[in-house]
Symmetry: C2
Subunit: 536 residues, 2 copies
């Protein structure tokens, strides 16, 4: 069959994939449906689209053109949600910034992204002011989104901009689905953050793939606990719009806020790091919680302890663990559940749930490969290798960083930098970050495995295990330990404890009792500990 | 932001969309899960993928190359389902042929499609033999799929082919998502059938869009009542594979078969024309039916009578009406439900359900336009115009028919040939096929509206209303009527009946009592009646 030219794509049968389509459809079909609950505010889908259009028109009036970057510093408010559409409707690229970063890093991001306009919640105004004071280049135009505190001087009022007539403004739609939609900076634990570029196609497929993979049906009531500055809140701003869901915004995440939102608004779904699950379990210990209905939870960010998973399920939460990175628009691997496992006991089920899982429907492949040779490794549940990914929700690349992009895409796959084993059933289970792996006498030791043993010691509140150079073994593990207030433990006790629970070569020989260095977002800076270890 | 060349698509982050991805993922993640129930046979997803691979390898051995056409004449069997993947895995284009067609039309299709291989269920062997006897060109290679009856002489045994070693055969994956996947011939009521081309991208998006739009979650048990020769069974072969569903094959559709499959296999979903709903209602009148669980039904093909919708819902079926054409991969418009309507009485709800609806999530737009000028028409529930569609699940075009393709895509939209009104809430309600509309004194008369009134007359078993040339009014409606066995009615009675229920200008002046001409698939041939009407 030869292909005639009249069979090529045309506007009637080829529409570049974009999440903007979801908002247009939902606003047209469900105009009066409740879209956003943000504190006392209630917005319908018709209102949300109109507000997005008004902001897009305002951005255009401020000179924003196709491909410009619009940054936002804000918690999970209606305005943060709307920015996910409004900025694209102006043809621009949305750059959500983590407001827990230090000012210096925010300065770096604003400069590197060449931000033209900064959308700013007043809660983040002090940070923005400090960051902008150090800018070498022109300061971006600031739009004050309101919120607690004072507006920055010389900022435009969002509220006023929204009241202006949009005139004959026509919202942008991409002519190329590969067009950049978002620019998200990684929060690496070392080095400068890298700017990850998303395209319209990926965001569209992320939404439809998540609906299929998570089994989302009807109109969820989604509590937005995951910060939208992390991978655009795992893409749920677009996913939930496709479903005409109701989004419950959340400025501050706490067990009380979550439980209250479930009772007040009938929340059916939310997402959160394992620490959020821990908060729920702890709160339920203090005050018993009776859920009015099953609530589905997507958890990611770090492998949740099996014990927490078990307890939170007992409370009535249906938890699905997922795995992903900023470079993959968020979750791309999911811990699917086989009905045959229902008969297993709780501990076995928790162990199965603790595995990160298998590819979401929109992903093509997730495998492991040798960290040195790049060769594929067997699915034997033992061989440890780097997780490599392939699919339509992998980033375009790093903004202004060709070298890092080529390194990440070596051998035709995306290199996650995470080390895992893969079981015969295809499930990945994360063992470590590549750079945190300790290689002792030719054996790979997962720092996470050793840490998880030490975390079970009752005196320990925080622990980090890193490699220490060793003339005989190459490297050996060393543990840096923070004790709980009022607790005591000696190095000898911890050594014995580890010997009981770990193979000999995995047991740290050295234990240092000191406070752990952390980033402004609370991640332990292991690279600093590795430096420390050389001197011990 | 300027786009650097290193940010262009590469294999790690751009994978052409294809439904083949769904089978790979489902077979890898759910190898032991029940995929197909076909009479006494049970196949797991691992087995299904292996069988698809084996057939693809066999097609390659038979000389099938990329872009060749493989046709199939079969009811809804495991082999028919598997052909939806195996043919694409050989790089070929699948052409499902309606086995209710006459031999002459099948000959035309085989010649027009330049079929290289014909997959043939023995149930369809007599038709295939008759069709091939008239072929001017080389006969296709026939693969005998088994089934009731005798195999054609000189056919290859599918069972034997499947037993051969696949050697180093590597399944095809498209390098271009626009590559042709299927070639489906329309069953028009006049003229030669047209060959509609689907691409891989469209089939992929049809599946994900259907999951989001129909709210499919978990693993449905899908009863395949819709013939796969109609728009590839509305694309559900791909959709259900994406969900690792269980597919229950169905050689002969009857109320008994459906009810039995629900009881025996826990069927949760099926699709069917309104006539299938009618069968269920009739069967339940004879023998009360108690459904063990809610069953979701997608119905399409003709507007179902509100009374049937009402009754079938009472039985426990949750019916969603959809609308689409062969040219749109099947359903692209869906009758969504607003919770606010739950409080309405049954008749009002049935009327709302009888409207065809609004675009599915994968579609961009569905509107109506003036049939003469192409101008958009208002959503007032009164203006009648042609349904025009735009989106990624609209065909590439008609095979070897540039003129028809250009006509269908005039003005940058796909012209459906169906006439509808559109309500202020965006819902379309079909009134007629364009060519069946009667224009009397400048007023559009929907033949369907007049027919639906006459269908309520107790003596009438079938009716068709067409235009009759009229010197004063241009056209006037004329009714051709079949009476029920033993019933009587006069033209005068029917005229009075119509006057009671219709505006004066819509009332047919003439009534002809005679049997209606029908195609081999049971569609009334109105073009023959229009010829008859000229002579009356």
């Amino acid at each position: 069959m030869r292909e005639a030219s009249y069979l090529q794509p045309r506007p009637a049968n080829f529409v570049p994939l974009t999440p903007l389509s979801f908002l247009d459809r939902t606003a047209a079909l469900y105009p009066e449906r409740l879209a956003i609950i943000d504190a006392e505010r209630r917005l319908t889908w018709s209102e949300v689209r109109h507000r997005c259009l008004s902001l897009a028109a305002a951005l255009a009036r401020l000179g924003i053109k196709e491909g410009d970057v619009v940054s936002i510093l804000a918690p999970n408010t209606a305005e943060m949600f709307e920015a996910h559409f409004a900025v694209a409707m102006a043809g621009a690229v949305l750059n959500t910034i983590n407001y827990r970063l230090d000012a210096e890093t925010v300065t770096y991001i604003l400069e590197h992204a060449e931000t033209r306009v900064l959308l700013l919640d007043r809660q983040c105004a002090p940070l923005a002011q400090a960051a902008m004071a150090c800018l070498n280049e022109d300061r971006p135009v600031v739009i004050d989104l309101g919120g607690p505190g004072d507006a920055l001087a010389n900022s435009h009022s969002h509220a006023n901009l929204m009241r202006e007539n949009i005139g004959n403004f026509q919202p942008h739609t991409p002519t190329d689905e590969w067009q950049s939609l978002c620019l998200n900076y990684t929060s690496g634990t070392s080095g400068k953050p890298k700017g990850v570029l998303y395209h319209h196609r990926g965001a569209y497929l992320m939404a439809l793939g998540t609906i299929a993979g998570w089994g989302l049906a009807g109109h969820p009531v989604y509590l937005y606990t995951v910060p939208m500055f992390h991978c655009n809140g795992w893409g749920h701003a677009w996913t939930m719009t496709a479903l005409a869901a109701t989004i419950v915004c959340c400025r501050h995440v706490s067990a009380k806020a979550i439980n209250q939102a479930i009772l007040d608004h009938g929340v059916t779904h939310f997402g959160g790091a394992p620490i959020v699950l821990g908060m729920l379990v702890e709160a339920a210990t203090a005050e018993p919680l009776i859920l009015p209905h099953k609530v589905k939870v997507m958890t990611a960010g770090a492998p949740p302890p099996a014990a927490i998973l078990e307890k939170v399920e007992t409370l009535g939460f249906d938890v699905m663990q997922v795995y992903g990175l900023t470079e993959t628009y968020g979750h791309v691997v999911q811990s699917i559940w086989h009905e045959a496992w229902n008969g297993l006991d709780f501990a076995e089920r928790a162990n199965l749930k603790a595995r990160q899982g298998v590819p979401f429907p929109m992903m093509e492949n997730a495998a492991i490969c040798d960290t040195l040779t790049g060769e594929p490794l067997p699915k034997d549940g033992k061989s440890m290798g780097e997780i490599v990914l392939r699919g339509n929700t992998v980033m375009k690349g790093y903004h202004k960083d060709e070298a890092a992009t080529e390194a990440a895409f070596a051998d035709g796959v995306f290199h996650s930098g995470d080390v895992a084993v893969q079981y015969p059933d295809g499930f990945l289970e994360i063992r470590d970050r590549i750079k945190d792996i300790i290689i002792s006498g030719g054996e790979n030791i997962s720092s996470i495995e050793v840490e998880s043993v030490l975390y079970r010691h009752p005196a320990i509140s925080a622990v980090a295990v890193v490699a220490r150079p060793d003339s005989k073994w190459g490297e050996t593990p060393i543990a840096f330990v923070e004790l709980k207030l009022g607790e005591r433990a000696t190095a000898e006790e911890l050594l014995q404890f580890c010997r009981q629970h770990l193979a000999g070569f995995k047991v740290p020989k050295h234990y240092c009792f000191e406070s752990l260095p952390k980033t402004s977002t609370g991640k332990i800076e292991k690279y600093k500990l590795r430096e420390r270890a050389k001197a011990i």
